[in-house]
Symmetry: C2
Subunit: 282 residues, 2 copies
């Protein structure tokens, strides 16, 4: 099987993809759109893209492309705690550091550590944490370090000098597995955190209380939402669709009736699937 | 007045900041956190940061920092249509192009144009559209182009060879002006698109229908929402806060009572302000 993912090599998304698909061929893509295109054209069977809180891409693009390509559904979700490490070339020392490279969001997420331990050291933006790690591995004559993940340290043979320098223990990145088949994803080696349904809901007219009406469908059935996000439609300002996650296992009567009730209030629903949430390592 | 903004120079956020604050001192920052820190420590009076759909940063960080720094409020919102242009060094020709540089999201947003007109040309990721434009301006011996905005073309003296190559006419980026004073922002030279209130709502317990209960407060008052987004709290999985925009002018009784009713159902509300939405040029 061919699995597209948001590259570059040693990105957090690759770290997710290798755990979700340890025995499949992984195909790095330059951006989120390319991941969707590869799946839609059949060049890849599935793709792994970030859904929430990633440092590697504007994740709103994932929601927009889910909306634009109704043939693509969700098979699984992976949740990865974010862990940033400070790493240097193995032959160098951390004492005479002059510059620290990383993606600007990774530098921001490690702000407290860098500001107390390396306050005077210049920080330099890179297009990705992996690219920063690669650059450090290729320039041992420079007194530089990278903020990147464990996978990048292994891949580029760097020495980790400070572990877990991120400001919050509980910062997570969410990834989804997308495909056209929507075959049930299963992996015995990963811990299952829960189960949920994903859907895109579009209200035909923007009127006060419209979203409230949609949420009533779930509320009186005691279906709990774990995520809701409004996105502007590309047709202009003031038109929206919503990405909604409903917690729990799929129940034919409960979920089926909820979808029917949504249609009865003229809401357009693209049901993205009922899928499991897996814990990934970082 | 000192205005911090999400840099680098010639970024879309700078384009927004120069229109919102044409006569003030602009201070570029490496990331969104630095913008918030500059305002909180008083190093800057205000800051301009992306709120939605930016290609320059994971905008969920803006919501997270609004939540983490309750002293910071919103004074204004700017809406900018996204316009990407293909630009080259003025002494070069577009005929023998070998590489096109830009931010990966800008390349994705111009996918249709690039894929039909420049299908065979290699696309190369850069950390920002502005950095790509700068690189093109400094390397006239190379047969390269950048996808960037008008401002970058002007700043780095590049020649635009194709205008408006983005896939959607109606793609917008939203920016907010943040400060600790919350002085009413006004600018006679910008068109006002509307008025809205922003707030962060935190539910003490995650229970089915909790969000529905919050939205009831707005629905029965016929207050229309233009944006809603859930964000995971840093305290662990499964705890959320919501960013909500309510359309319209502030009305003491209506809004005041809505906030009181939210408190009566144990929702914690951080009211971010009632502010105008301005149309920006790109």
């Amino acid at each position: 099987m061919k699995i597209a993912f948001l590259g570059p090599h040693a990105s957090f998304t690759q770290l997710a993809a290798t755990q979700l698909f340890p025995n499949e061929e992984l195909m790095p893509q330059a951006n989120i759109l390319d991941c969707f295109n590869a799946v839609e054209k059949g060049e890849a069977d599935k793709a792994v893209v970030p859904l929430e809180n990633s440092i590697e891409g504007t994740v709103s693009m994932t929601l927009d492309y889910l909306y634009k390509t109704p043939s693509i559904k969700i098979e699984a979700e992976g949740v990865m705690p974010i862990a940033h490490h400070l790493m240097i070339h193995p032959e160098n020392s951390v004492e005479d550091l002059e510059k620290i490279y990383s993606h600007p969001q990774a530098l921001a997420q490690s702000f407290h550590f860098l500001d107390t331990q390396y306050k005077e050291i210049t920080r330099q933006d890179f297009s990705s944490t992996a690219a920063a790690a690669k650059y450090v591995s290729e320039n041992k004559d420079q007194k530089i370090a990278a903020v990147a993940n464990q996978f990048a340290a292994n891949l580029y043979g760097l020495k980790i000098v400070h572990r877990n320098i991120q400001d919050f223990e509980q910062n997570h990145t969410r990834f989804i597995v997308i495909s056209k088949q929507q075959t049930p994803y299963h992996n015995e080696n990963l811990e299952v955190l829960g189960e949920k349904s994903g859907m895109l809901v579009n209200l035909p007219e923007d009127h006060p209380g419209g979203l409230h009406q949609v949420l009533s469908v779930f509320a009186w059935r005691k279906m709990n939402l774990s995520k809701i996000e409004s996105r502007t439609l590309k047709t202009g300002l003031g038109n929206y669709f919503f990405f909604i996650n409903v917690v729990g296992k799929w129940e034919d009567v409960l979920h089926g009736n909820a979808l029917l009730e949504l249609q009865s209030i003229q809401a357009e629903v693209d049901f993205l699937g009922n899928y499991k949430e897996f814990l990934l390592e970082s």
